[in-house]
């Protein structure tokens, strides 16, 4: 006699049913998604003020801040952290960790980041690089020829 409950097709159908969830689950998901999207917009609004600039922190201390270069200029910032010095490169491609004394190297593997709100953090070394400001503000920048009273 075949056990219909253990048939692979029955199992798959049962799992699909579980995957759909109840209407309450969907309502909870919708609520969470809306809250997250709202939070995201709020953060982006605060971040996109001013020109795109890379900020480098060690803990609460701001070590350096440089506007992202428009030309081929490359800036290297040696950021001294808890376990050593992280070498951070700022160029027109964005900001990236070139080297770091940490063991996991998640920070160096993250590559270059150039978009508003991008964050690269080296948790063991307590070093963080963040980009604030938006490219869109380049066009909005007001250029004064003269100021008269």
């Amino acid at each position: 006699m075949i056990d219909t409950d253990n048939h692979p097709k029955a199992n798959l159908a049962s799992f699909r049913q579980c995957l759909k969830g109840t209407w309450m689950d969907r309502f909870v998901l919708l609520l969470l998604l809306l809250s997250i999207v709202f939070l995201w917009f709020q953060i982006n609004q605060n971040l996109s003020q001013g020109l795109p600039t890379a900020y480098i922190y060690h803990g609460k201390q701001l070590l350096a801040s440089y506007p992202l270069p428009m030309d081929d200029k490359v800036i290297h910032v040696p950021a001294k952290g808890e376990i050593g010095i992280s070498d951070i490169e700022i160029s027109k491609l964005g900001v990236r960790f070139v080297s770091s004394p940490c063991l996991t190297h998640h920070c160096t593997l993250a590559g270059s980041k150039k978009y508003t709100g991008s964050v690269i953090a080296c948790v063991p070394n307590h070093i963080m690089a963040v980009i604030r400001g938006s490219d869109a503000n380049n066009d909005k920048k007001v250029h004064f020829d003269a100021i008269s009273e």
């Binding site: 409950d5 049962s14 799992f15 579980c18 995957l19 969830g21 109840t22 309450m24 689950d25 909870v28 998901l29 969470l32 998604l33 997250i36 999207v37 939070l39 995201w40 953060i43 971040l47 900020y55 922190y57 803990g59 609460k60 063991l103 996991t104 998640h106 593997l109 993250a110 709100g117 991008s118 964050v119 953090a121 948790v123 063991p124 307590h126 963080m128 963040v130 604030r132």
Partner: protein, 181 residues
Amino acid sequence: MTTTIKKSNIPPRPSLASLEDKAIWLSFLLLAIGLHVFEATLPSLGPWFKLGLANIMTLLALMFLGARAAFMLAIARVIVGSIFIGTLFTPTFFISLAGALTAATVLVGLYKAFPRISLISLSLFAAIAHMSGQFITVETWFIQQPAIYYLLPPLLLLSCVSGWINGAIASYIWQRLHRKC
């Protein structure tokens, strides 16, 4: 020489039900550690993000054995799992422990407040709590910059997806095992 043991000195024999519960808890713990280690071997899906498969076992422990067992399982899984991975007492360990503790607290709290809540909803809230707990720990102890929260919204979206899938898997296993019991 013969030794005589007074009957009063013999500890009472644990009940069969209690032994069964311990055996189930241990098997859940072994599975959770296995999933924890397995996930560590998978290619990274991006910095700060993991699927959280081991949370399926915490959910099942909550349903089968209750709040205390689920809480203990979450802690034990992180400690033993990090011994196997080699991250014990590193920043990764503390971040992972904080996430697991926050998720377990939210799981237990919600389950006690709303006993009829589904496993998928529980898992969704636990996934969000896990991610938030990790970020709060990183911000408080390591990076100390609120700017780290800029990373939070996209990761919370991914947490919702993984939370839903984990909840569905836990729900499926719960239905299958519950029917058999």
